[in-house]
Symmetry: C2
């Protein structure tokens, strides 16, 4: 095959996807240290089993699929009405955000939606991306050949609130609670971004995959809590971290009626290039909003947040500076020494057999930081912190 016909923009990407690189490093350590007791506080993957209400819904829906009367083939590409309505009622209404079912699109993951949504835009449009942030926003735009990308630095100096671009941009990615810093964007920050977007005719892509971890009701959970946002923002939600669906796959994208042309295009994109989410999974996601489902999920998140508190406490008492971990499953650890975050990754693995994520993998402002996650088991999280405090200094 002629290689000249290939998408040349792939060559502009970093060599491999961050988390694949890390997985390879761990594999290689395991091979050279058989029997190593590695504790993974790295990749943001949940560890607690699915909620009993979710499991029960799955078994029930599986039985439906075993019977000709209950069997379901292709569903609507944008998701079954029962789930879209459950999301509107269960996810948004409690925040005072009123959404119609046809503003809600169900998919198999926020990573897919966040990565695919840029397809609806011209290759020449100007993109603003927080730094540091989840690498998919940048990588998917590089793959599409976008060159006009500005970064919005977030650091201790601005309370990890990304700076509004000085010049005019067309697309603005925001992530709150932020992956990796664990910071929630303030109402003031979000209001300023919405005002900016309305003034410049820009679109905000608001990734709220971790909204369920916000512990303070006065903080903003959905971009639509900000006046004017319906005319300038889409929002991404996920069941992955909310309900432990990382291996189940279900997510939500909201495109409001006010963005009529964009809504039509996303529907066209999804009906043409996607075939809907597994029926059983949609019933499972619906069960997340049942009274028992809610209660069970709340308890699981409380467990993760207890880990987050333990990590914060352990590092702080060890003399380190951290942020995050109060309304997010991520703790952003300021590295004390003149050491790259990738070098620190290796040292932490070798000294403590603890895995985290190097901050520089999330952007240049992430250098000098390290991400730990609260998704471990309480006991292994506690042991990891013990090793860090006793072996690292």
């Amino acid at each position: 095959m002629k290689t000249g016909i290939l998408n040349r923009y792939y060559a502009d990407l970093p060599e491999s996807y961050l988390f694949s690189t890390i997985a390879r490093k761990i594999d290689s350590y395991r091979q050279s240290h058989p029997g190593a007791d590695i504790i993974r506080l790295g990749i943001g993957d949940v560890t607690r089993p699915l909620a009993p209400a979710v499991i029960a819904a799955m078994h029930r829906a599986t039985e439906e699929m075993a019977d000709v009367a209950g069997f379901r083939g292709y569903g609507p590409e944008q998701g079954y009405e029962f789930l879209r309505e459950a999301v509107a009622r269960g996810e948004f209404a409690p925040r005072g955000v009123d959404l119609a079912a046809d503003e809600i699109f169900i998919s198999d993951g926020s990573k897919c939606d966040v990565a695919n949504f840029q397809e609806l835009f011209d290759r020449k449009c100007r993109v603003a991306i927080p730094d540091p942030v989840y690498p998919v926003y940048l990588d998917s735009n590089i793959m599409a050949g976008r060159k006009n990308i500005v970064f919005m630095p977030a650091h201790a100096g601005n309370g990890f609130q990304p700076e509004i671009p000085k010049h005019s941009v067309d697309l603005i990615y925001l992530c709150s609670p932020n992956n990796p810093t664990g910071t929630v964007l303030t109402r003031e920050t979000l209001t300023a971004f919405v005002d900016y977007a309305l003034r410049h005719g820009a679109l905000i892509l608001f990734d709220a995959a971790y909204a369920a971890y916000i512990q303070d009701d006065s903080l903003v959970h959905s971009i639509y809590e900000i006046p004017g946002a319906r005319a300038c923002a889409v929002e991404f939600r996920s069941f992955s971290k909310t309900a432990g669906f990382t291996g189940v796959r279900c997510a939500v994208t909201v495109v409001p009626h006010e963005l009529a042309e964009l809504r039509r295009m996303w529907l066209r994109r999804q009906t043409t290039k996607f075939n809907g989410v597994n029926y059983i999974v949609q019933r499972a996601a619906e069960a997340v909003y049942s009274p028992e489902g809610r209660e069970q999920i709340r308890a699981t998140i409380a467990g993760y947040m207890a880990n987050a508190a333990a990590i914060r406490r352990g590092l702080t008492e060890g003399g380190w500076t951290v942020c995050g971990g109060e309304h997010a499953p991520y703790i952003w650890w300021e590295l004390p020494e003149q050491e790259t975050s990738f070098a620190f990754f290796d040292r932490l693995l070798e000294t403590c057999e603890v895995v985290g994520t190097p901050g520089s993998g999330f952007g240049s402002c992430g250098e000098g930081y390290f991400r730990l996650t609260a998704f471990g088991e309480p006991d292994s999280t506690r042991r990891a912190l013990e090793r860090i405090r006793t072996r690292l200094k």
Copy 2:
């Protein structure tokens, strides 16, 4: 939001996805004819429940997800090794095709993979698409802004074997058994295409979603049965029609080692923009290859093929000309009158309350034809044919 930043190529698409248009027509008929007994031989969606072996695997895997020891979060984006190996052994080895597990990528659907794969190529590359064919190949290329598209006509005059392009092209889509004509590409046709691709440095995108319906072992099931194909072809397989997974979502894409750069790029694309298939679904797909699974699936397909035979017989005895339906679930019905296939759709719905798919929805060579599918229940298929024979003439 400024509309000038939108992807302008969407405006080049037909107004809506073919099957969405049809669904709207049926809805509107239902509303104006309450109690109508509509028989759907239109969209290619299965109707038989999942195989007992698949259901049992789903229940088992669901239980694993209920327990901390068995719980699985993110899996490999390209699919679990157990499924990739089962596919190599169960799907390809019996045809004498030897694939390594890392040449196999698991996804949530062939529609997605077939639509996404073009992202790996330059916008300027030249694309050849059969006419008539499944509309996703064309639509996904239009969305990406490709203008250099040639069609390969397939009609009664060439035995529905698409004509090899006269000039040099870079990407060639093939679909065998074909949707909508139900025709299997011959060994001679496929050998000629592989030779062409090798000579021109082109890539063949071989869609074999209906391979399980081929009844004659001497016909080609996989493009890799053709010498040289590993250096010039990717292949798409699906559990949708093989095992009734249209509402479950699982598919396979093969990128051979010989296409090393392309394989790396597809892995990069999937790790960046996709997050793997549901673990329970992968266990369900594995069960398709168990001895009981195979037997149950064979029986279901035999049932659909009995419908296909009944449709062929009914139409032929009624004096109509058909092709397909012998190694595919699709019957391609030559319309006798000077009537567009969309007008015929309306007439068939109004006269017989039977739904099919207008041939012109699959390309200009589809005009004058109509697609019926064998996925109905035997009784309703029989009743549909009775209505056609008694009411249509």
